[in-house]
């Protein structure tokens, strides 16, 4: 119990003093996961919208594939990206292994299917009358599809948040392809793992608190979006 209390006390000191090591780890985590989420959404939302809105042969298979992709184990994704980027791998010449770029690639692979699958669910949750109403008012098919997405915007925001939440909190993929190199590829989750294994709980707890605060802030933002934007066009 004493260890835990002293860990919390030291963590508080690290946070308040603006420790450079802590904040560089936090900054890299936000950068890697933020970029991964943006790219994952740029891929996942159009794919999910297309699968959700269109009727085509193999649609059910596409949805199943996305749902399976949603549950991709981070360590397996990390392993695959490692194999591709390692010196002997097909993309080894790019020399990306153990760089933030490799971490972004791995996290994008995790985020994209998750966002796509949640986008399909979001689009399917919209009343089919929305599309018909838009068409009856003179919308083109594309404009009607945009209207459906607009109606699903809160569910889409939730998909984005879920994507960010999944990648910022994962440890397996970034550990394998990033290597947890201090000052270069060390992010919050890998640092927490390392410091815990070393028995240095202060840094681990400090980063854990920040991770929780980030998750809390993101969900608060989502909540605000859901409650405050009802009347906006």
């Amino acid at each position: 119990m004493q260890d835990i209390l002293s860990g919390f006390a030291q963590a508080a000191r690290l946070l308040v003093s603006g420790d450079a090591q802590v904040w560089s780890i936090v900054a890299l985590s936000l950068f890697v996961s933020g970029i991964s989420t943006v790219i994952g959404c740029a891929i996942g939302i159009p794919v999910g919208a297309a699968v959700g809105l269109r009727r085509f042969a193999g649609r059910r298979l596409a949805i199943t594939t996305l749902n399976v992709g949603m549950a991709l184990p981070p360590v397996v994704v990390g392993l695959l990206v490692y194999l591709f980027l390692s010196r002997r791998g097909p993309l080894g010449f790019l020399a990306l292994l153990f760089t933030p770029t490799a971490m972004i690639i791995a996290q994008t692979i995790l985020a994209a299917p998750l966002v796509a699958a949640l986008t399909v669910a979001a689009v399917n949750g919209v009343d089919p009358a929305v599309r018909l109403t838009a068409l009856s008012l003179g919308a083109t098919d594309r404009q009607a599809a945009r209207r459906v997405l607009a109606e699903a915007r809160f569910a889409l925001a939730a998909a984005v948040v879920a994507g960010f939440g999944a990648v910022i909190s994962e440890v397996g993929a970034v550990m394998i392809v990033g290597g947890n190199i201090a000052g270069h590829t060390r992010v919050m989750t890998t640092a927490i793992m390392l410091e815990t294994s070393k028995g240095d709980f202060a840094l681990a707890i400090a980063l854990g608190i920040i991770l929780l605060l980030v998750a809390f802030a993101v969900n608060l933002g989502l909540s605000y979006l859901q409650q405050g934007r009802e009347a906006s066009p």
């Binding site: 009343d127 009358a129 929305v130 018909l132 109403t133 838009a134 068409l135 009856s136 008012l137 003179g138 919308a139 083109t140 404009q143 209207r147 607009a150 109606e151 915007r153 009802e230 009347a231 906006s232 066009p233």
Partner: protein, 241 residues
Amino acid sequence: MIAVAARGITYAYGDRVALREVSLEVPRGEIFALLGPNGAGKSTLLRLMALLDVPAAGEIRIAGEAPTPATRLALRRRAALVFQRPLLFRASVLANVAYGLRVRGLRRREIEERSRWALDLCGLRGFERRSARQLSGGEAQLVSLARAVALRPEILYLDEPTTDLDLAHAAQIEQVIRRCNQELGATVVLVTHNFFQARRLAAAAALLHEGELAETGPCATLLESPRDPRTAAFVSGETIY
């Protein structure tokens, strides 16, 4: 002149035939009532006339013109449809009314002016900033009507627009329908199973029964001296609907 014509329209939902070789013509500038019991195919025919769906056989002509892939959107944009259950977008009342004008690419000022004009016409001044999802059923249907009227459509399709409303809102909507027809010259196709409403509003009417056209003609004749036994049964109340 004929505003909209259905020629030999057949439509099925899977194995169930909803319309069987229905042909009728709606004269330009008139209010035309499509009557019939539930399940007669009225709403299906209205959706086909509004070019929101494609018949299995037959064709719809708008002002004599059959839609092609190249002209379908332009023909569809000459009309607007109000559904029985008003589906308002998750936005303000003004944004809802402006929607059809925005998708047509009109300028912001014109969109604003026409939207406010339509809201005034429907007695909704002061509702602009309200959330469309927080309106009563009657108010929501009036917004839905304003959204269609803002487009100043040549043809206004109305699918049982007053069915779920109280008398005051129903009367208000009937008044707007009359004004659209008389002041804007819009042809109105009104689906209803309320023949009192049809009598009040429509000059001509058609009665559908189990997917077939039973009778068409002047509304008064159809309701007071029906020739077809199915129409007679509907008017006398023998048909359960």
